[in-house]
């Protein structure tokens, strides 16, 4: 904040004094370039090169089992992927998991954030314990829940519910178990992002509304939620894109059996089990386009929603 007020008058003043400041500005920019360069170069090199390589590979027949049969095939890999029912099924699976998991994470994350923000009882303990799922290795979380649900491996959940058939041998049971794992693991992160937004809601405003007779629910819906819009946007965007890339949990549960194969799982098995780099790269590019599309959709929806809100 203090730097903000210090630098605020600078642009206006510098426009007038640009000539005098050239030397200093130039030195500052040079230093900035040197400081930024290592991180920027590393990030661009390690993501841009493979990204371009993926696009190129996706236009070729490149199968590691038949290395001599490589050739340029244009868009035919995309044709293969997009005309395969398995691709659309996997898009559907991924979408179901993403929508349900992110919705649950949002509701539970909001409740957890409110608790972390307002609780009067053992705040430190509550926050520490709530963070545990966030810190736990995803593979460990997946195993814990997988073994808990598995009847054959003596899980406690079928035992507790008195189930006679293994829930993980059905599509429905597998989805429930996978989504619960995702929700358990990721709700704390959602809550942390929402907590950042909650901290920005001024208490005097809530107090004033209370004095005016607004109920707790009205205060939440009319004051807290609108003011939290940017935090909600960030939280939903990050979690949606991350959930859409779901891989670890499905890999540990059943590697995509029982109709739970996600796009990332398909991508992995095409690339590394079937060693078909051309087809696998086409899946990668399509996944990447999906992620970009979701990000744009979010920007569009929230951008449109935020603008009239801020104009009022």
């Amino acid at each position: 904040m203090s730097t903000g007020t210090v630098t605020a008058p600078a642009p206006a003043a510098s426009r007038r004094r640009r000539r005098h400041l050239t030397e200093r500005t130039r030195a500052e920019r040079r230093l900035a370039a040197w400081l930024i360069a290592p991180a920027a170069i590393v990030m661009i090199a390690v993501t841009a090169y493979p990204a371009i390589a993926t696009v190129i590979l996706s236009l070729q027949r490149a199968d590691l089992r038949f290395p001599n049969a490589n050739k340029f095939v244009g868009l035919s890999n995309y044709g293969h992927v997009l005309s395969a029912p398995v691709w659309w099924q996997d898009v559907f699976h991924t979408a179901i998991i993403t929508v349900i998991a992110v919705s649950c994470q949002f509701v539970l994350g909001m409740l957890l954030a409110l608790a972390m923000h307002r609780t009067l009882v053992a705040r430190g303990l509550l926050r520490s314990v709530a963070l545990i799922p966030y810190g736990i290795v995803a593979v460990v979380a997946a195993y814990s829940w997988n073994l808990a649900w598995s009847l054959g491996n003596g899980g406690w959940i079928p035992h507790l519910l008195g189930l006679s058939s293994d829930p993980l041998s059905h599509t429905f049971g597998s989805y429930v178990a996978i989504i619960i794992t995702e929700v358990w693991k990721n709700t704390p992160f959602m809550a942390l992002l929402l907590l950042a937004g909650l901290a920005l809601v001024p208490d005097d405003l809530l107090e004033a509304a209370k004095v005016d007779g607004a109920t707790a629910w009205q205060r939440f819906v009319r004051i807290t939620l609108p003011l939290m819009k940017p935090a909600i946007f960030v939280a939903l965007l990050f979690r949606t894109l991350d959930e859409f890339r779901i891989f670890d949990v499905i890999y540990i549960f059943n590697q995509g059996a029982e109709g739970t194969e996600s796009i990332s799982m398909l991508n992995y098995s095409t690339l590394l089990d079937r060693l078909n780099l051309g087809l696998g790269s086409a899946v990668s590019v399509l996944l990447f386009l999906f992620v970009g599309l979701i990000a744009l959709l979010f920007l569009g929806v929230f951008g449109a929603a935020a603008r009239p809100g801020s104009a009022k």
Binding site: L35, A39, M43, T54, G135, G154, L241
Partner: protein
Amino acid sequence: MSVDAAAAGRTSGTRSGGRGGFVSEHTKRTVGWSGALVVVLVGSLVPVLWIVFLSLKTSATATDGSFIPHQWTLKNYSQIFSSSVFTDALRNSIGIALIATTIAVVLACSAAYAIARLDFPGKQLILLICLAVALFPQISLVGPLYNLWRQIGLYDTWPGLIIPYMVFALPLSIYVLSAFFREIPWELEQAAQVDGATPFQAFIKVIAPLAMPGIVTTFIIVFLICWNDFVFAISLTSTTAAETVPAAIAQFPGVSQFSVPYTDIAAAAVVVTVPVMILVLVFQRRIVAGLTAGAVKG
């Protein structure tokens, strides 16, 4: 700090507000929040306790479906620590995560300093690149990296994992660190110099102590990300030369082909979870501050 202050203010506010029957109102709130605490405790800890209990079951009782073991044993732990599959993986995990985290934090410090303190064109572009990298589907990179790493001999080596970990840790490190660096009162540096300190002394004695909490926080958050990774670990390694614990656990060899050693997996899972839980419990305040600061900025 500000959050606590605000909460304190609110508490006093509600107390004076709810004048009639203050005691019952206060008790009601305490009971309500205690209930919430219990729910969070149970929800967070049950899956952890389950895997701990499973790791302490004998192989005969492993599949009996009870939550608490009927027969207790530490044999699973002695078993995994006597197998090089696990100890090598543990060594790989610790080494790779520490190196990747250190490099990422050093690079991010320099970039975040520029973003927080200097005025230069392209600042938005850098933040945009960070966002793009953070949102990049990592699995999309696995194919070409697998291909390239095999060609240049990085497949199944430490650098082969350190490089992608570092890159995917950079965006968050830069966001979190620049949020921290913005809060540092940099005028103190000039003040120290006016008082006769050299620029180096001013940096070491004044700025470094102020920057340290942010750097430590970033280090912990990034370490958790590297320690957690599964996608790269399973795709870019194949032997104990570089396999990390998450990848090793997922491919634990059973006693026979048909029995997956779940009690061993549970023991290994507990071993990789304990340091993380200690980190989270000890640095809870900082992790919350770091992630929320990065989020507000983002």
